[in-house]
């Protein structure tokens, strides 16, 4: 439990300043001469797989870049113009947006409810373990589990719906249902995890506040509204940012379950062609990667979009401040 608290503490307060460590101790002064040996592998990794790719991806996004030739020709903003004008790209944004709203909305509300219940009922590690299990499983496995369960002919979900007189629904093969179904699948996967994060945040709320409130005869709901929510805000914002960014990047489950049995990712009728899938196809699949530059342009737009969302969210919700100050 101390780990949890220290983690939250570090997010709230900035990293220790140099001043502190300078005071720290006599024999520990050294400089780059020593540090470089400890940093070498991770510097190499950072350079090769984060810094270099970032520069290269932006460069490629301004080039006519066939994947096979590794040699591009500068064409200015042409790729961006193509991508933004592409109906399939706008479809991808719309589809992803629908998915994110459904997924994050459901997941956050459910997780809040579960976290409050756990906070009031039990700290059992067993309960928490079970809730966390779906999050640990490989995405592809999750996709296939639900591919079977949601199958219109052999799936258990439609069997159960049938008991209530509902006709079989092709959750993954019907364009009206495919995005809600995928959102539900990932809601299943991430709700327990999100609940655990919120639950951890709730442990920092001083219990004396609840005691005082219950002395005043406050109801559970009132305590939730006036104590839990305001004090949980920084954690909630952080959790929301993490899950939003993750949700926008949905891919594995679409690859595994999109279109249902015998279908392909993106099926039916492009209704599950999410942004990641669009970029992937543009970069590697369409015409043997001949238009990888457009893929890079779309990926750059996605990254910029995620950054903007993060900044807006931090601003709007005053993330740094808890009313606990």
């Amino acid at each position: 439990m101390t780990t949890v608290e220290s983690a939250i503490g570090t997010t709230a307060t900035p990293a220790p300043k140099k001043m502190k460590s300078r005071k720290g101790g006599g024999g520990l002064s050294d400089g780059w001469r020593v540090a470089i040996w400890f940093l070498l592998p991770s510097l190499l990794g950072f350079f090769l797989f984060f810094l270099l790719p970032t520069i290269r991806a932006v460069t490629i996004s301004f080039q006519d870049f066939p994947l096979l030739e590794s040699e591009g020709e500068f064409i200015g903003l042409e790729n961006y113009r193509e991508v933004i004008g592409d109906e399939l790209f706008r479809n991808a944004i719309w589809v992803t947006f629908k998915y994110v709203v459904l997924n994050i909305g459901l997941q956050t509300i459910l997780a809040l409810g579960i976290a409050v219940m756990m906070d009031r009922l039990t700290k059992s590690i067993f309960v928490r373990s079970i809730l966390l299990l779906p999050w640990l499983l490989p995405n592809v496995m999750v996709g296939l589990l639900w591919l079977f369960m949601l199958d219109p002919t052999n799936g258990i979900v439609n069997e159960w719906l049938g008991y209530f007189g509902v006709d079989p629904i092709g959750f993954l093969s019907n364009p009206d249902w495919s995005i809600p179904a995928l959102a539900l699948i990932n809601t299943w996967k991430f709700t327990g995890y999100t609940a655990l994060l919120l639950f951890a945040g709730m442990q920092t709320v001083p219990s004396s506040l609840y005691e005082a409130a219950s002395l005043d005869g406050a109801s559970e709901f009132k305590m939730f509204r006036t104590i839990t929510m305001p004090l949980l805000r920084p954690v909630l914002v952080l959790v929301l940012i993490i899950s939003l960014i993750g949700s926008f990047q949905v891919f594995d489950v679409v690859a595994a379950a999109g279109g249902g049995l015998g279908g392909n990712p993106g099926d039916p009728l492009n209704s599950t062609r999410v942004l990641y899938l669009y970029i992937y196809d543009k970069a590697f699949v369409d015409s043997f990667g001949k238009r990888a530059g457009q893929g890079a342009a779309a990926a750059t737009l996605l990254m910029l979009g995620l950054m903007v969302i993060t900044i807006i969210q931090l601003r709007v919700s005053r993330a740094g401040e808890s009313d606990l100050a």
Binding site: A57, R120, W188
Partner: protein
């Protein structure tokens, strides 16, 4: 932990105690506490019921895969709703693992199709890549976390911040350049460099694609999260211990290996666990760069494509492979569940 947990749950009992004063007898307290609980019984019971349903919902799909894997496929198709295996058999596991002789009649009788699963190969590839990534990443990140937490050098905090900013890079953004880099790698690593074609159009220029070095390269040296995670703990280790080692004439290497690493064994183990699970579950990179050296998630995705959408899909076979793909995670989880849960709460709020 116990402090936090008990206070909230027993708030009512405490209040009674306060009102009636410390002199109240034990019996009285118990009675009061009891009545306090009774007042909440209905709400609490309902909440427990909901929580139980949520727990069942968490477990059910995994159970359902196992139930399907343990049954004859013909029975699965006829009997979609039975909560236990409608026709218990171990044949699917035998088939997917490739144990013993399997005749055509057996396959027909099991209602299966004769797609070859050959699950050992992807399991082995996943085992090797996940182990390599975990060992490398944890060790190298411990090294740089030591530098960021314990050494002083110009621009340290700036470098650290730049490292952390890599968290903002979405994997797909770096995917094209990373693939190009791996494909253009011409360094021959002997036994590891298994030269295989990559995609149909990738003539003879395959570099490190579909090789072990290619599969592990983007993750084995560093991830921003691992460095951040370990640095937190290294900062917390008392300076006195390290200074005592300095007095003994220990250099940086000895201090790192003999003081820091042993004292941070628990968080290092936790990080290793998280890294292993993440590597095992990774899909996008091996799907792109390992078409001919498939890890288990990629192979599983292929099995799905091979299971045609006919009237008689091989659900049992597919669910058996699915269950096996997640089994190592389930086992890790069963053995070390507590550690995972504690560490996830930490790691998530980063």
């Amino acid at each position: 932990m116990s402090n936090v947990s008990n206070t909230a749950a027993t708030a009512v009992a405490l209040d009674d105690e306060l009102i009636e004063g410390a002199a109240s007898s034990k019996k009285r307290k118990q009675r009061k506490a009891g009545s306090g609980n009774k007042q909440m019984t209905l709400g609490r019971a309902a909440a427990w019921a909901v929580l139980t349903v949520v727990m069942i919902a968490s477990l059910f799909p995994v159970y359902w895969a196992l139930r399907t894997a343990l049954s004859n496929n013909n029975a699965i198709i006829q009997d979609t709703g039975t909560l236990y295996p409608p026709e218990l058999t171990g044949f699917n596991f035998q088939r997917v693992f490739g144990w013993g002789e399997i005749t055509q009649e057996q396959i027909v009788a099991a209602g299966a199709n004769d797609v070859q699963f050959d699950i050992w190969s992807p399991l082995r590839v996943s085992l090797i890549t996940s182990t390599l990534i975990t060992l490398g990443q944890v060790f190298f990140c411990a090294m740089s976390a030591y530098a960021f937490a314990r050494l002083k050098f110009k621009g340290r905090d700036v470098v650290f911040t730049i490292f952390l900013s890599a968290l903002m890079v979405p994997p797909i953004f770096a995917l094209i350049p990373n693939l190009l880099l791996i494909r253009d790698m011409q360094i021959d690593l002997g036994i590891f460099a298994i030269d295989m074609g990559w995609l149909p159009f990738a003539d003879d220029k395959t570099g490190w694609t579909s090789t072990y070095p290619g599969l592990v390269a983007p993750y084995i040296l560093m991830t921003p999260f691992a460095i951040f995670f370990l640095r937190q703990f290294f900062i917390g280790i008392s300076k006195e211990v390290e200074e005592a080692a300095v007095l003994d004439g220990a250099g940086h290497l000895r201090r790192f290996f003999q003081v820091i690493l042993p004292m941070a064994a628990a968080p290092i183990f936790t990080l290793a666990l998280i890294t292993y699970v993440n590597s095992w579950n990774e899909f996008l990179w091996p799907f792109t760069a390992g078409k001919n050296l498939e890890v288990i998630t990629v192979a599983l995705n292929d099995f799905r494509a091979q299971t045609p959408g006919t009237t008689r899909p091989d659900w049992s076979g597919l669910m058996t492979a699915t269950f096996i793909a997640g089994a190592p995670i389930l086992i890790l989880f069963a053995v070390l569940g507590r550690k995972v849960v504690d560490s996830i709460q930490f790691s998530g709020i980063k």
